[in-house]
């Protein structure tokens, strides 16, 4: 680079072009000086910037909601658009125009967060107005529901709203500009209230200091083919797609005792049904392909010959059909060999990533021709004929055993995070992982009872780990100093089958995971959360998997989001869980609606697995003004109970509203009380939020201090 007088310079590439020719150099200087004298108008740049962000948001939302067209004979109803469809809140509610008043001035309010279902609760909201506004009047006209203490700043016609204590996670919000108070800069009044509606993402709920990670022992059962996969089909019993034992290679039934049985030639796909009763694997030979459907231990096989594409996975659809990729399309075949097309979308199974959920309702597809960049891949809802992206997804996603929840590694940030969401779409929980930016994470597997997961970590120095981690906070509970791919959990959650390596030799191994240390209440909360996720997705199959056979899950209502309010242990050993189901507001209905749902959870006779034994949903209604109880649980200190509210409380109202000693933490909106022993706790209607709105009705809760 050559610097000259007045700060002019020519870079080395230009100097190379002009050489020693001083006149040419002078001409280049003049051209550069001339061409760099057009600064952009800052006001124009700022306005265009706000518009660009809003339009980009609209594109992202439209893309995520873009309809995927089912086959012509699709028998199911059209999908219902979710909240996310509202991308850009330009909401003008026409009000009555008083004869004596001047004509109202149309004003549009746009915000990049409008219509988002998973805004970071620590984020701020920027609202851009299409006209110059009276800043003081607009600020006075602003209110946020649920009531939220905010700081406001202006930049031009951008109103920046910063919640003092952040926003409540997993909550629906409405930001309103009251037309009765807001004015334009020229004094004009608005024709109606302006609303920006959005929702916040759930956040991890750490359960305290995690215990130090322990060793995760891996037991090798057999040598394997490079792409082999193994599933645990019973106590100490595995089926592997390509195992080598006693000199034979093929589909093997492997016993923990070391015994093995050859079932057929090696294959590349195997799956167990969601209820664990059925097994399916692929057979190739003689130029044809067949799918073998059998009992879970591989007995009573029935073979149907059907063209299956190279690289296709298999997935059971509730014991009745097996899904696969054939002829470049997702298809399903039943035990009698009847084939139907599930999706018209073209799939190249040999190159594309295809993951089919337990139950077969969802399929993740990522084109093999797409770059290995985060965010490339869509999750298809084969029942609704809809699809959405998994934001930032890298590697392959994993599904919960019921299929209602999907988890993936979000590689959009500097360090990968674990993301979880209802498979049908909804608020996304992002969980930090104890990994470095250069680490590569892969091979995710969710434990069947929820609460834990396994994944593989490849460090830059070549070392690999298989980790068992907690869903609560991502903490590592146990680790093996070997990589482990293609994890498949046992139905009881006690072990995981993986493909690992000894040197360059692939091996099938089993990791015996430490017993879960979660309390019964935590397990109940985990089941209720999975149940709620399935309900948000309207996934009847997943609901049936999580509930006892007598529970009429078909009558349970849908929702935009759900949260666990309270888990209580009953004297008969069952658990009662209170859920809050929320229907997010929309620009047309700028008010959240909610209902409570009561779940009864009981252990099944065999193995003590919790199941939903009763579910009763209350009526749906607009959320009343004032604070609402979002969570009630044992407090961090012994003998205390923590009540978390959905709004910022007026701290001065707390003490008088409780009949027992109470302290308020504004940062978490949590009141901690110290009742003496188990008792009924009463919260009076004198409790109010920062907007001065009182508790709608007295609360009486039976509590058990921690």
């Amino acid at each position: 680079m050559t610097a000259t007088h007045d700060g002019d310079w020519l870079d080395d590439e230009v100097l190379e072009v002009v050489g020693a020719d001083q006149e040419l150099r002078h001409a280049a200087m003049e051209v550069r000086r001339t061409l760099q004298t057009a600064p952009v108008d800052p006001d124009f740049a700022r306005r265009l910037g706000a518009e660009v962000v809003a339009r980009r948001q609209q594109v992202i939302e439209e893309r995520s909601q873009r309809r995927w067209r089912p086959p012509a004979l699709w028998p199911l109803p059209r999908p219902i658009l979710a909240l996310g469809g509202a991308a850009l809140a330009v909401v003008l509610v026409l009000g009555a125009i008083l004869a004596a008043r001047p004509a109202p001035v149309p004003v549009a309010a746009t915000s990049a967060v409008a219509g988002l279902a998973s805004l970071d609760p620590s984020g701020r909201v920027v609202v851009h107005f299409s006209r110059a506004m009276d800043h003081g009047a607009v600020t006075a006209a602003l209110h946020v529901t649920p009531a939220t203490a905010v700081r406001t700043d202006w930049s031009g016609e951008d109103l920046m709203v910063t919640p003092v204590n952040g926003l409540v996670p997993n909550s629906a919000y409405v930001l309103t500009i009251d037309a009765g108070r807001a004015r334009t800069a020229s004094g004009g009044h608005l024709p109606g209230d302006l609303h920006v509606v959005f929702g916040t993402a759930p956040v991890p709920q750490p359960g305290g200091t995690p215990p130090p990670a322990v060793a995760l022992p891996l037991r090798t059962l057999a040598a394997a083919g490079e792409d082999s996969e193994a599933v645990i089909v019973g106590q100490g019993l595995l089926l592997a797609t390509s195992a080598t034992k006693f000199g034979a290679t093929g589909v093997m039934r492997l016993h923990a005792t070391g015994a093995a049985e050859w079932l057929g030639p090696a294959t590349d796909a195997i799956c167990v049904s969601r209820n664990g009763r059925s097994l399916a694997y692929l057979e190739r030979g003689g130029g044809t392909t067949s799918i073998v459907m059998a009992a879970s231990d591989g007995t009573a096989p029935k073979t149907v010959t059907v063209p299956v594409d190279e690289g296709s996975p298999l997935g059971w659809m509730d014991d009745g059909e097996v899904s696969f990729v054939g002829g470049g399309q997702l298809q399903a075949v039943d035990r009698d060999g009847h084939v139907r097309v599930l999706a018209s979308q073209q799939v190249d199974a040999a190159r594309d990533s295809v993951v089919i959920s337990p139950g077969g309702r969802y399929a993740f597809l990522r084109s093999g021709s797409a770059p290995a960049a985060p965010g490339q891949g869509r999750l298809l809802d084969l029942a609704k004929g809809a699809g959405h992206e998994l934001p930032g997804v890298v590697d392959q996603p994993a599904f919960s055993a019921d299929g209602g929840t999907v988890a993936w590694f979000d590689g959009s940030g500097a360090v990968p995070r674990l993301a979880l969401a209802p498979s049908a779409g909804g608020p996304v929980l992002r969980l930090p992982l104890p990994v470095a930016a250069a680490d590569r994470v892969s091979d995710l597997g969710l434990a069947p009872a929820g609460g834990r997961f396994v994944y593989a970590v490849q460090h830059p120095n070549g070392q690999a780990e298989l980790r068992l981690a907690a869903i609560d906070d991502g903490a590592t509970l146990a680790a093996a100093q070997r990589g482990g791919g293609s994890p498949n959990w046992a139905a009881d959650g006690d072990s995981v089958a993986v493909l690992t390596h000894s040197g360059s030799q692939p091996e099938i191994a089993v990791a015996d995971v430490p017993a879960a240390t979660a309390s019964g209440a935590d397990a109940a909360a985990a089941l209720a959360t999975s149940f709620a996720a399935a309900q948000v997705g309207g996934d009847q199959g997943a609901l049936r998997t999580l509930a006892r056979s007598g529970v009429d899950v078909g009558r349970l209502p849908a929702a935009s989001r759900a949260s666990v309010v309270q888990v209580s242990h009953q004297s008969d050993g069952s658990y009662r869980v209170e859920l809050r189901l929320t229907v997010d507001p929309t620009p047309r209905h700028p008010s959240a609606r909610a209902r409570t749902e009561s779940l009864e959870l009981r252990s099944s006779g065999q193995g003590g697995t919790l199941q939903v034994s009763r579910a009763v949903a209350g009526p749906l209604a607009d959320v009343a003004p004032g604070p609402h109880l979002a969570r009630i649980a044992a407090g961090a200190r012994a003998g205390t109970v923590a009540l978390t509210f959905d709004a910022d409380l007026d701290a001065a109202s707390v003490r008088g509203a409780f009949t027992v000693p109470a302290t308020y933490d504004a940062a978490t909106r949590t009141v901690t009380v110290s009742p003496a022993g188990a008792r009924t706790l009463t919260v009076g209607t004198s409790l109010r939020d920062v907007a001065g709105q009182h508790l709608a009705s007295e609360l009486r809760e039976t509590v058990t201090p921690g």
Partner: protein, 187 residues
């Protein structure tokens, strides 16, 4: 992919799902794109319209952008180049000297600015008279300080070809300036 600034690749990836990441890319490039467009159309109002159009096209097309094919900046300038070409084709607006002298963003010509203004206009005219490929290469190199490799990616030519275009363009500009200078003195 060559990064124009640290973290650009990550920002581009995040922009696929995060509108604010796209907003950060916009903030990085809006001044450069505006200047590039302005240098081509020499009208602030039109330049603002076209700059808006460039970013509106980019925000719709970024999902199809593949970082392996060319740097993000080259991709964006390609959009800007096409937008300007489309504008010129449809409008055929060529500003004459009078129009330039009275363009709305210009300061009122005061005595001490006259000489410099005339110099600027001569240079602008010289650049405007170049054949399209030379004008694009010179504008990107000297107006935007882009790397030759990125200009090559933007124009779909080799680096050597781009250097040749710049060299020929500068030679032509030098000749034009030399021709204009005596006439100005005579005037």
């Amino acid at each position: 992919m060559r990064e124009a600034f640290p973290g650009e690749a990550d920002l581009v990836e995040r922009a696929r799902t995060d509108p604010h990441a796209f907003g950060q890319l916009y903030e990085r490039y809006v001044s450069q794109i505006f200047r590039f467009v302005h240098n081509r159309v020499r009208d602030r109002s039109i330049a603002e319209d076209l700059t808006s159009e460039v970013f509106f096209k980019a925000l719709r097309a970024i999902d199809r952008y593949r970082p392996t094919s060319r740097p993000f900046s080259a991709w964006l300038y390609q959009i800007a180049t096409n937008t300007v070409i489309d504008h010129v084709r449809t409008r055929r607006t060529t500003l004459d000297l009078d129009a330039v002298a009275h363009r709305p963003d210009g300061q009122p010509p005061v005595e001490e600015q006259v000489a410099r203004r005339a110099d600027v206009e001569r240079v602008w005219d010289a650049v405007a008279d170049l054949v399209e490929t030379q004008r694009l290469a010179v504008t990107l190199k000297l107006g935007q300080d882009m790397h030759t490799a990125d200009i090559a990616a933007c124009m779909g030519r080799t680096e050597g070809a781009v250097k040749l275009l710049i060299y020929r363009g500068l030679n032509t500009i030098r000749q034009k300036l030399e021709e204009a200078a005596p006439s100005r003195r005579e005037a």
